[in-house]
Amino acid sequence: MTAPLLDVHNLVVRYKPRGLFAAAAKPAVDRVSLSLPAGSTLGVVGESGSGKSSLLRAVLRLVPVESGSITLDGQDWLAAHGPALRRARHSIGFVAQNPFLSLSPRLTIAQILAEPLLARGDKPGAAMQDRIAVLLSRCGLPPDFLPRRARELSGGQAQRVAIARALALSPRLLVLDEPTSALDVSVQAQILNLLMDLKADFGLSMLFVTHNLKVVAHIADQLMVMRQGSVVESGATERIMSAAEQLYTQELMGFGRRAQKSAPTS
């Protein structure tokens, strides 16, 4: 096997305690290691407060890392700063939970999709507009969405735009933060299918963070279960789904089932 695309080793993320005499906070992410081979999908699962979002934000360089290392494509990802970091970020695509919050409310879809291309230094013009239209159609939306604004779209449509934006610079790694949690169940399946198609087409690797084990089992090759900042269990998806070693993982699976049954039909 070749070197992993993303390699996280003994990562610790700790938020600063508030107040002069406050005790040092427990780390939000406590010595987590993971390795994501190129072309595969790792699902990170945990309930809220498990540290999965902090892990993701550390990988995106949105929160400072206390110790440990992150290697992206053989490069020390934590060493990049300033303009170098800005350039390096082009190789990671990010899809957030709520598309209506993560798409700028005052820009049109065309403008939103142009942003990453302009950030890379592409020249605006007809070629860029074509590229944007192609990008959007790859994500299942016709070009007549381009002049619209995010609030005129449905949740699923908006999330497709967010995915198109994440893929604009042909990143090798796609980081997804609960990309289906704000959507209803039928749309969730569509988005998951879209992601699987795109993954095959673009040769993507995905880091998929969610609280929903059902969703992630559908799409991930590997699973990692987190609780209170630490990894509880990790391994191939089939093994964990069929024979989880840890009680907590089993609980988490039961959780999903129960929630599914008792979910109100709205």
Binding site: R86, H90, A96, S104, P105, P116, L118, A119
Partner: protein
């Protein structure tokens, strides 16, 4: 036009009409004033301090000049003073607030402490001191008022940026590798600008009041140029016997300041509606 009127409501539309009327008077003063040369300052001593009549609708002042013409020409000074004070204040306050709010840390501390120093002085007192130091003149009095005005915009811009900075779409832009300058201008500024512009519209009235106060105190534009604040001051000596000399420009100040305030209110209500809809 009717859509705008519906949005602004009855009062807002009326105020807009008042402002537009004053703007047109200011713009076309040489053609609209009955005695343009007197409006610009030529004395006419044979007819001094005449009460309102068919010849002089609002009477004449101590140099025999037609008060109506003076009020019409004075609209030029007051309008531009009000608008320029707010424009200058935005020009300083908006960038300061944006930078302080966005970069935080020591930049925030430094910029906001400087802002606090300006806020520490009573606004009119500081303006009077500055105007006295700079010497009389329209531009000087505008600068003097703007210096006391911008800290409010800086604070407001900072507060808006602090809210917007944490928005997921701003975070998404930074994760995409968009430069900080572009994030600030393209993703944060449009959201922050709108409430600030509403506040600016609301402030034109008080700004032109302050400018008029300065020229009332003799620190504004120099005679013989017509200025409402100055005219009220000149008429003071003849009040209340020859009330029209002070009353006409006084009422003009009152009307225009009121119109800007009510229009700003109408705009703010509309903005409030929008925010509720978006939530």
């Amino acid at each position: 036009m009717s859509a705008l009127a519906r949005r602004l409501g009855y009062g807002g539309t009326l105020c807009l009409a008042v402002i537009v009327t004053f703007a047109l008077l200011a713009l076309f003063a040489p053609w609209l004033a009955p005695y343009p040369d007197q409006g610009m300052g030529t004395p006419n001593v044979i007819a001094k301090l005449k009460p309102p009549s068919a010849d002089f609708w609002l009477g004449t002042d101590h140099l025999g000049r037609d008060v109506l013409s003076r009020v019409i020409f004075g609209a030029r000074v007051s309008m531009s003073a009000g608008l320029l004070i707010v424009a200058f204040s935005l020009l300083i306050g908006l960038p300061v607030g944006l930078l302080a709010g966005y970069f935080g840390g020591w930049a925030d501390e430094a910029l906001m402490r400087v802002t606090d120093v300006f806020l520490a002085f009573p606004a009119l007192l500081l303006a009077v001191l500055l105007a006295a130091a700079l010497g009389p003149g329209l531009l000087n009095s505008i600068v003097a008022v703007a210096v006391t005005w911008w800290p409010w915009y800086a604070r407001m811009a900072r507060a808006e940026v602090l809210v917007l900075r944490g928005q997921p779409y701003v975070e998404a832009a930074s994760v995409m590798g968009v430069s900080q300058g572009r994030i600030l201008i393209r993703h944060i500024l449009p959201g922050a600008a709108r409430p600030l512009l509403v506040q600016a519209a609301l402030d034109v009235g008080p700004a032109l009041l302050t400018a008029s106060s300065l020229s009332f105190l003799g620190l504004g534009i120099l005679p013989p140029t017509a200025d409402w604040g100055k005219m009220v001051d000149e008429g003071r000596k003849f009040f209340p016997d020859r009330w029209w000399v002070s009353a006409a420009p006084g009422i003009a100040i009152f009307l225009l300041a009121l119109a800007f305030s009510v229009l700003g209110d109408a705009l703010r209500d509309r903005e409030g509606d929008k925010r509720r809809d978006a939530a």
